[in-house]
Structures are given as C-alpha cells and as structure tokens.
C-alpha cells in the first residue's frame, strides 16, 4: 500500500499528539498524583505508537513503546512520578519531536534513541514492583493492567459483568499460559477461545482477540468470561487442551468487587492476587454503580478528566491546505474588485432592477468576505501551546520557579500573523523569565512568593488583538537603562533627563541594547528586543512597555486582526487616487489656507487647541497636476502614529471602502510612505499610503 497519501495526515496527527503529550506532561508535573492525566498521556502515546508502527517508523514506535511501559506502571500506581522520570519522559518527547520533524522534511524518521530507551527501561526495571523474577506474576500484572484499562475505556463491559453477577451468572477471570515449546500459540489460544465460547461469553480479553490471532502475545493471555459452568470444571477443560501449561480460573462476585473496591491495594503481589487488584481498579473506575466505591473520589475524578479531554476533540473539522485558503482569498479579492466595479456601473446606468441585484450581490459578497476572513483565523493557542514547555525548561535551567499563566488562548488571529508572531513572543517570554522574574533568593528577600508568575494574555479590542506578557518580577530600573544608553551613546545627558518613563523603556528596543548584568545564553546579548520590535512593526503592530519598579513589567503587543483586507479612506490628489488605512485616520477636516503657520521651518495647522505638523501629499509624492497653493480651502486628513498626530493635505475625499491589500511586486524596492497597492472598482491600481512613515 502506498503510504504517502497518509503521510501528511500522520504528520499532522503526530504533531497534535506530541503537543498534547507535552501539555499533559506539564499538567502532570504540577499534579504528579493525578492518574487521570497519566491515562490521557498513555492514550496519546499509545495512539502515536500505533500510527508510527502502521507507517513503518520503527524507531518512533519503539521509543513510544518504552514510554508506554513507564506510563503503564505509573497509571497502575506501581511507580510514583519523580523528577528524573519527568526529565526522561520530556527527553523522549523531544526525541519524538525530532523524528517527526525529520519525517516532515522527507527523512525516514530514524534517530539514535538508545540512551533514552535504556534509561526508560531502567525506570521500568528499577521501580517495577515484583520485578521480572517470575514471568507468571509479571504477566498477570500486565494482564491486570490491560484489563484495567480495557474496562476503564469501556464502562459497558463492566456493567455487563456486574449485571451478570446479579443475574446469577458466574463471572470468571481466567488466565491461560501456553507451554513454552508450543509452535502455534495462536492456534492453541484459538482452541481455548473456541472452547470457552461454547459454554459462555468472553467479555474482554487481553491481549485483544486480534492480537492473539496475530500471535502478538507472549505465552499467556487473560480474559473475562461469563458462564454457567463451574470454575473448576472449566479449568480442567482448558488444561486438558494440548500444549496448555496452566489455567487459573477465579470466580468473581459482588462481594469480592465491593470488598476489593474499599481496600486491598496490595496490587500485583502475585499471580493469584492479580485479578483482585484489577477488579478493585475496575470498581474504582466506575463512579456511580458501586455505592461504596466513592471511598476514592480521586478515582472518579481521574475517570472524569480524560473524558472531558476526549469530549472536546471531535468538533467536526477538516484540514485544508493553507495555500488553498490563500487561493480562495485571492479569488474573493477579485470578486470584491468586480463588485465595486458593478456598483459603479449600476450607479451610472440607474436601472432599479440592476441596482437591486447589485446591492444584493454586495451583501452576499460582504458575508462571503467575512466567512473567508474567519476561515483564515486561527486561535492563538497554536502559538501559545508550546510556551509552557519552553518556560519550564528556561526556568529550570536558571533555577527559578515560574508559573506561566495563559489567558485568552482561544483568541483568534489571521493565519499570516500567527505564523510570524511566534518568535517575537518567544523572545519576550524568555526575557520575562530571565530578566523579569528575579532569582528565588532575591524574591524571598523582597517578601514575594518564591514562585514567580508570568502571565501571557491575548484579547481582542476593536480591530486589534492585544498580547500582553506580564511578570511579577523586579521591574525595569530607569536609571540602569539610562546609564547604559548614555554609555552606548544612544541618548545624550540632556535628552535623558527629559525622557518619560515610557520613552526610557522603549530604549530597550534599540539595537544592541542589553541591561542584563550577566550575559546568559537565554537573553542578554542585546539581540532580541530590537528584532522583536521590527518584526512586530512589519506586521503593522506596535509594542510598548509599562513597568513598576519592584512590582513587575508588562510588554504589550498590539496587532491588526487581519493583514489582507482593511477599511480605507480613498482620496484624490490631482489625477491620482490613494487609499489611507482608516485605522490610522483620526478625522478629516477642511481648513482655510490662511490658517497654516510656519514654525521653525515646519508648516503647522491649529488642531484642537494645539498645532500639528501639516504635510502636503502632493509634494511628498511629487504629484505634478495639482497645485494646492491655488486653493483657498484645503482638505486635510488627520493621521496618527501612537499619540502623535499630523495632517496630510489632499485634494478631495472620495469615500470609505474595504480594500484588498496587494504588494507592489518583488521588483520594486520599498517606497517610503507606500504600504502597498489595491485595485479600485474601475480596475485601476491605487497606492495605499503608510501614514506611519510620515510621522517621525
């Protein structure tokens, strides 16, 4: 079978599983006793193993298999999660991630995982109670574990068992071992199944029937069985089959279940006890049916949490190649252009039925545009989800204790922004962990909680998305920054004195600036924040800092919701038309030319009790066929960058319109003041003005 068609699906799903493994491991690290999380992790690892094996990535599946072994012990409470186990498991996850990445890039997913496998095996060997001294007991324990999981996965089977007991049937736990020299294990096993099925019903077997048929079992298998026959009778019947070494049949009843449910935690002490232990676990995992089982509320909780996790997953989605969405977007933009064209024509022709149709088309077009834009929206969770792990690692390497609190991970952003915003946020977070939060000793001395908190928030506001990173660390020391800036010659003494706190903080974003006393490999080399700023600005975003000394620092990133369609004001200068993004327009006005003043060689106009600089678009863009000096009144557009304002003179306002941003083509070098181009209703290209370039 050609696996290639499944490869992309495999990669996507593997990444999903790795992500969830990572997240859940972090959860587990916070609550190492929560078996519910272990179950979720186990299931993810198991699915991953299965997928990898199907696709023939052996290293991947064997590593997951070893992880599974460890997790299996943990979820059966035979092994307590400890630091070194976490580290090993995290290391395994990293290795898995590398392999999947290799596969993504067309590799064969092979990697040397010997050492990780060895340490995983050491954990299994070193900590497993009962050890491997008797294969029977080991097998029984494993069987118990598997049945345990089987019943946990399927409440139905458990209730069948219980009901059968109530109705007077005999419920048996049977364990069969096949002789070591047996050549056809599967065939022997089949005989056992065949025999049993004649006298009753097999509810559950471990390994599963399919696995047994494929000889995927060692020497023994165990099963739950409902029958009317006596236990001893069955036992002799099974043993009488050829090449069967032993058969243990244990009858279960209500009493055993209840009794076991309330106590008996000496799990897996021996083969005989295995079924009881497993029955106990089974009873535990059934919250409602067993009345006294509530003695362990934790168990029902453990049961509930994987359910909740599993329940959220199957929202009905399809995966679509992002390129197809881009094509859809392009087609839609052409439609929008034609729409404006049609509107214009309908307006000229003035036929009511035509106008109506065009209006209807416009409405449908707007709805379509909204939906396509929504399609491109991705929850920022896809970026945020890798941060907990990163913060954990960084904090650990710095020997700090840090809680990362993520809020608003469901906030949606345009795909293009999502793809770009990851790296800047990584910088800011590392910065917060490294420089923001103080070392533990210092925190204790300052009377703060030992564990620092870094909050990562995302939320919508207007046409923008805000992402804030706030730490409860030492805050930014104004003097320290100024001293550094003076030393580096970024500011002069007199400038420094006049600067507001915010302006001082913005110095952090200057190139080659770092205030860290000690340069670490995490941050402090002065590359970073300036890159962060330029990246965010290239996304038409802004970044700002607020800080209180001793209390903490907040970095705030403001981003546009989408980069492809914006509202803009169309204006005319001479014979040329331009578009100005509405987001940077404060208002439009008409002024008398005689109001224009000249101050220090700049032209200024009065605007709300202040004077703001006035610039002529015609002269900035060297428009030849418009002479504004000849006018008495002139139209201005007041634009804004941050809290600074300026006015642009134009000849005429055309109106407001939704425009599709297109670039000017690769050939042209960037033109100052031009953010791109758009196609107007008449098919002509209009340049989009970047007002930020005009305000210095």
């Amino acid at each position: 079978m050609d696996m290639n068609q499944y490869l992309s699906m495999f990669i996507d799903e593997s990444n999903d599983h790795l992500q969830s493994l990572n997240e859940n491991m972090l959860e587990l690290e916070k609550a190492p006793d929560d078996i519910g999380i272990v179950q979720v992790i186990f299931r993810s690892a198991h699915t991953l193993k299965g997928m990898a094996a199907t696709m023939g990535f052996e290293d991947l599946s064997s590593l997951t298999h070893q992880m599974e072994n460890v997790l299996d012990l943990v979820r059966n409470e035979k092994l307590k999660m400890q630091d070194h186990i976490f580290d090993t498991l995290f290391k395994s996850l990293d290795a898995l991630q590398m392999m999947v990445q290799d596969i993504t890039q067309g590799g064969d997913g092979k990697a040397d995982v010997q050492s990780i496998v060895a340490s995983l095996q050491a954990i299994v060997r070193g900590e497993a109670p009962g050890g491997t001294d008797s294969s029977a007991s080991g097998q029984a324990a494993q069987g118990a574990a598997a049945v345990h999981s089987g019943i946990q996965l399927d409440e139905f089977q458990y209730s069948v068992l219980e009901q059968s007991i109530s109705e007077g049937h005999k419920v048996l736990y049977i364990e069969v071992a096949i002789r070591e020299d047996c050549q056809l294990k599967a065939a022997r096993a089949y005989l056992v199944f065949d025999l049993l099925e004649r006298y009753g019903e097999i509810v559950k077997s471990h390994p599963s029937v399919q696995e047994i048929e494929q000889e995927k079992f060692d020497r023994s298998f165990s099963l739950y069985y409902i029958t009317q026959k006596d236990a001893s009778e069955l036992q002799s019947m099974i043993v009488n089959l050829s090449e069967i070494e032993s058969a243990q049949v244990l009858q279960l009843d209500h009493e055993t279940l209840n009794q076991l449910a309330s106590g008996a935690q000496e799990a897996a002490a021996g083969a005989a006890e295995a079924p009881t232990a497993e029955a106990a676990a089974a009873a535990d995992s059934k919250p409602a049916a067993a009345p006294q089982a509530s003695s362990k509320p934790a168990a029902s909780e453990a049961k509930a949490s994987p359910r909740a996790g599993g329940g959220a997953a199957p929202s009905r989605t399809i995966r679509v190649d992002i390129e197809r969405l881009d094509v859809l977007m392009n087609l839609l933009s052409e439609l929008l252009i034609d729409r404006s064209r049609l509107e214009q024509l309908a307006h000229e022709i003035k036929r009511s039925d035509l106008t109506e149709t065009v209006e209807h088309m416009s409405r449908v077009g707007s709805d379509l545009q909204n939906i396509v834009l929504k399609l491109r929206m991705v929850p920022i969770d896809t970026v945020f989800s890798r941060f907990p792990r990163m913060v954990r690692d960084v904090a650990k390497s710095l020997d700090k204790k840090i809680d990362l609190v993520i809020l608003g991970a469901e906030t949606e952003l345009d795909r293009t922004v999502i793809d770009e915003i990851g790296d800047p946020l990584v910088h800011l977070l590392r910065n917060a962990v490294d420089h923001g939060v103080e070392p533990t000793a210092q925190r204790i001395a300052a009377g703060k909680p030992e564990t620092g908190t870094v909050q990562l928030r995302a939320f919508h506001s207007g046409n923008h998305v805000f992402i804030e990173i706030e730490d409860d660390g030492g805050g930014i020391d104004r003097e320290k920054i100024l001293n550094k800036a003076l030393k580096n010659g970024i500011v002069t003494q007199s400038e420094a004195a006049a600067m507001t706190d915010e302006e001082v903080y913005m110095l952090l974003f200057a190139a080659g600036f770092s205030t860290a006393d000690v340069i670490s490999d995490i941050s402090g080399r002065g590359v970073g924040l300036d890159v962060v700023r330029s990246k965010i600005e290239s996304l038409s975003g802004e970044v700002s800092v607020t800080s209180t000394l001793g209390k903490g620092t907040k970095f705030s990133v403001q981003l546009p919701l989408t980069l492809s369609i914006i509202s803009a004001m169309l204006i005319k200068v001479g014979s040329e038309k331009y578009a100005i993004p509405l987001s940077s327009i404060v208002e439009t006005a008409i002024i008398q030319r005689k109001q224009i003043r000249s101050v220090h060689g700049y032209t200024m106009v009065p605007y709300r009790e202040a004077h703001i600089p006035l610039m002529s678009l015609a002269s900035l863009f060297e428009v030849r066929d418009f002479d504004e000096e000849a006018e008495e009144e002139t139209e201005i557009v007041v634009i804004r960058k941050g809290d600074r304002l300026a006015a642009l003179t134009v000849e005429d306002f055309i109106g407001q319109s939704e425009i599709v941003i297109k670039n000017l083509g690769k050939y042209l070098p960037p033109v100052q003041g031009v953010a791109g181009a758009t196609i107007l209703g008449d098919g002509q290209v209009a340049l989009i003005i970047d007002p930020n370039a005009f305000i210095k």
Binding site: E622, K662, Y667, I679, G683
Partner: protein
C-alpha cells in the same frame, strides 16, 4: 548542433530584440498605469493585470535610450524571471520566431546603445536582419540598478 528555441521579437526604435518565449507571460496593449512616487525614473508605475499588481518599466529608459511617446503599437510584455513579474514597455511586439542557438553570437560591446552585459548575444536572421537577445536576469538585476542610481544621484 544547437537547441531550437522560440523567441518573442519586439522593437525599440529600429532595433529588433528577442526574449525567449518561455519567459514571457503575456503581451498586453498599453493600459492605464498608476505612477509610483519616489522610485527609479524608468519605472513607469504599476498596472492591474487581471487582479495582480505588476510593476512596469520603460525598456528605453532602462537602457538609457531617449523615451518616446506611446502609440497604438506600444505593447507591455509581461515577463517572469527569478519569481519576479515585470512589464516591459516596448515600441511594438509582433512576431514569434524559431531560432537555433547556433546562430547566436556573443555580443559586441555596445549594440544600439545597450551595454553588452544586458545582452545574451546577437542572432543573425538574414544578411540584413539582426536580432538582439536580451539577458533578462541582468536587465532585472536590482542591485545593479541601485548602484546605477547612486552614481547618478
């Protein structure tokens, strides 16, 4: 034995030039061009080619030839080189020709006022007819223009 190829033939003044056909996307009649301020003088602006914004340069201006009025014959040849799409304004374009690469000779230093580095070679079609083959990646080489601009400015 050289390769057979097809070339688009266009004219600047009296001289005939050729571009390999696989580099040419379409040939358009003159259409409204939106001026782009503050850029090279030979960049005439951008056009809307079926929803895509494409910069257009005047090939005469690019080669420092005197620019002329646009006429009914003026064409915009849209070429795609190194993932860049650019339109060339030429005096006329009206021929596709089969050519064997054997007939292309390396160019003399200057042909019709155009420096040799912009040229691929000169193809001798007949005794009276020469076809100048353009080296498109050199014509569209941006770093070279930037140098050129700074020298001029």
């Amino acid at each position: 034995m050289g390769e057979e190829m097809k070339v688009i033939v266009f004219k600047l003044g009296e001289e005939e030039y050729g571009i390999e056909v696989d580099k040419v996307q379409t040939i358009e009649r003159m259409m409204p061009i939106t001026r782009v301020p503050k850029t090279y003088s030979f960049v005439k602006g951008v056009i809307n080619l079926r929803g895509v914004v494409i910069p257009v340069i005047d090939l005469r201006g690019r080669f420092d030839l005197p620019e002329s009025e646009y006429t009914e014959q003026t064409r915009i040849i849209i070429v795609a080189v190194n993932e860049m799409e650019v339109g060339f304004i030429v005096d006329s374009a009206n021929d596709v020709m089969d050519l064997n690469s054997d007939v292309i000779d390396s160019p003399p230093d200057v042909v019709g006022g155009i420096k040799a580095k912009y040229l691929h070679g000169v193809a001798r079609i007949s005794d009276e007819r020469l076809l100048v083959m353009l080296n498109l990646s050199e014509v569209l080489n941006r770093s070279e223009i930037i140098q050129l601009e700074s020298l001029e400015g």
